[in-house]
């Protein structure tokens, strides 16, 4: 499922003290089955942008298209949009509320008006997808789990709606390195096995470089850079000017290139950097 965003504009608190233009003429496209990475400093408008993709916010001007349906002109029912586009907020574990894990994950499918058998199938499917054992945890309280597992449960709550596009706002924020790795590999697995298109926001440049097919860079409500990770991370100085940086591996090879004459590398990962250095030494 592809998403097209055209000239999106959004202003918070219009006409009040504290008026903020959060999005200003934002246009881009997400191709079917691809992963889009979104980066930008704090307050650059990333979360605001994501909330337009499933109709939670209505733009002041501009359009959002999902395949060939426009979701900003009021012609599409909201529940249909949310069935197709699943949005996982920053710190989604704070939305858990039910007594048991299974009930909480069932909340989304139940809102879609599905029958009980289908709801149960989806709860199983979603918990399975996030790597949790249905039988083991279905009757446990969602609150007695670790931070990482709570986040998985919250994610399952969205996946159970079987969206075609999955949107993740900083899915790894505040997790330890192990939980961080697990969430990322889970997202990759979901992308590969289920063929979902994925949009994800992250402040971790290495994650963006390793996951995304395409990257957009937001700065004060505008898209300032757009392209493959290789294209975007070639602008290291511009990125630094916006309070961002390049993946650590690239940072290192850039430094090396400055002090070692003749060395050049466009590595985005440690393995690539290692290979480039090895090739340079062998030469």
């Amino acid at each position: 499922m592809s998403i097209t965003v055209k000239n999106l504009k959004y202003i918070y608190n219009k006409g009040l003290p504290g008026e903020t233009a959060a999005l200003d003429d934002v246009s881009f496209e997400i191709e079917d089955g691809s992963i889009l990475g979104v980066i930008g400093h704090t307050g650059s408008g990333k979360s605001t942008l994501l909330q337009h993709l499933n109709g939670l916010l209505k733009p002041d001007s501009g359009e959002v298209w999902i395949d060939d349906a426009c979701i900003t002109d009021g012609s599409t029912k909201l529940v249909d949009i949310r069935r197709r586009v699943g949005l996982v907020f920053q710190y989604p574990e704070y939305q858990l509320f039910e007594e048991t894990v299974a009930k909480d994950v069932a909340f989304g499918p139940r809102n879609l008006g599905l029958d009980e058998d289908e709801i149960q199938r989806r709860v199983r499917y979603a918990l399975d997808l996030v790597g949790l054992n249905y039988e083991e945890i279905k009757d446990m309280s969602p609150f007695e789990h670790s931070g990482g597992n709570k986040r998985r449960i919250a994610l399952a709550g969205v996946l159970a709606m079987e969206p075609k596009v999955l949107i993740l706002d900083e899915p790894t924020a505040g997790l330890d390195p192990k939980a961080h790795r697990e969430i990322l590999s889970m997202v990759k697995r979901i992308h590969e096995n289920e063929g979902m298109s994925i949009v994800f926001v992250s402040h971790n440049m290495a994650d963006i470089a390793s996951m995304a097919d395409k990257v957009i860079v937001m700065n004060t409500g505008r898209i300032v850079l757009e392209g493959t990770p290789a294209q975007v991370f070639a602008h290291s100085e511009e990125l630094a000017g916006m309070g961002l940086n390049v993946p650590p591996a690239r940072e290192m090879t850039d430094k090396l290139a400055r002090i070692v004459p003749g060395f050049k590398s466009e590595a985005l990962s440690i393995t690539q950097a290692a290979a480039d250095i090895k090739a340079f030494i062998n030469n």
Partner: protein
């Protein structure tokens, strides 16, 4: 939507009203409320309203902003009107089956509605022009004589500061939770009363948990900065009584005299 409630909000501006000592403003507001109940006739209300609008004009807070706060309590005003109109005995103006409207009822309803509107606007002027921190400092100072007889004035003031400070935070939190549940297909707008009440559970439970988390974090942060109650605490910004405050106090006494005088004018007009 939920952000439209202006109760307890501060409107930053540089005006004579903003600069007044919080103690003066608190006393003025309390006096004003008492006076609203002293008023006996429309002439008195006219004076009270004129005084209020003069203060609003001085405060540079846009009228639009003040009235937005009123819409939230519109229902309360409406019910007061209805109850007073229909449930007051007196000279009958209109009668139909069991419904009776009396002259006294209409007057009383009008009085009550005007009183409520002026009262709400009057007290929102106080919070709109006074930073929460000044407000509670002022309250603490005003109450400090009471601490001699064992009233924990500092603690009360602190509790108010915290409550006011966290209104916007909790609003933000509520907004976030509502959006997150909507993203899971929750529908808060349709269905009958019971369904709607039930649809609040997915908002209230996370909100409750968040409040506890926030409270716990706040307590820790305060302890980490060695908070140990009001005893022996000094402040960075002491409040001082300036000439403007004296002028305001004189005006206030004059206003009180005018209101009391207006009672002589009769019981309706």
């Amino acid at each position: 939507m939920i952000r439209d409630i202006t109760l307890g909000q501060y409107y930053p501006a540089d005006s004579p009203v903003h600069r007044l000592d919080a103690r003066v403003k608190i006393t003025a507001t309390m006096l004003y409320i008492v006076e609203l109940f002293l008023v006996k006739n429309f002439a008195g209300f006219l004076i009270a309203a004129a005084a209020l609008f003069a203060v609003i004009a001085l405060s540079r807070v846009p009228l639009r902003f003040i009235f937005r706060g009123l819409t939230a309590v519109f229902l309360i005003i409406f019910f007061t009107l209805i109850l007073n109109i229909f449930l007051t005995d007196g000279r009958v103006l209109w009668h139909w089956k069991f419904i009776t409207i009396t002259y006294e009822g209409v007057i009383r309803a009008a009085f009550m509605a005007i009183r409520l509107v002026l009262l709400i606007i009057g007290s929102s002027i106080l919070t709109l022009t006074t930073k929460p921190i000044e407000l509670t400092d002022g309250l603490e100072k005003l109450m400090s004589p009471l601490s001699k007889i064992g009233v924990p004035s500092h603690e009360i003031a602190l509790m108010m500061t915290i409550a006011l400070r966290f209104i916007p935070t909790l609003m933000e939190e509520t907004d976030k939770i509502i959006k997150a549940q909507q993203a899971r297909g929750a529908d808060f707008e349709s269905g009958n009363i019971i369904q709607r009440a039930k649809s609040l559970i997915p908002i209230l439970v996370p909100l409750f948990i968040s409040s506890f988390r926030i409270a716990q974090e706040l307590a820790l942060a305060m302890e980490a900065r060695c908070y140990h109650g009001g005893k022996g605490r000094t402040r960075m910004n002491e409040i001082h009584f300036h000439r403007g405050d004296a002028v305001a106090a004189v005006l206030l006494i004059g206003f009180l005299a005018v209101i009391i005088a207006s009672r002589q004018l009769g019981s309706v007009l």
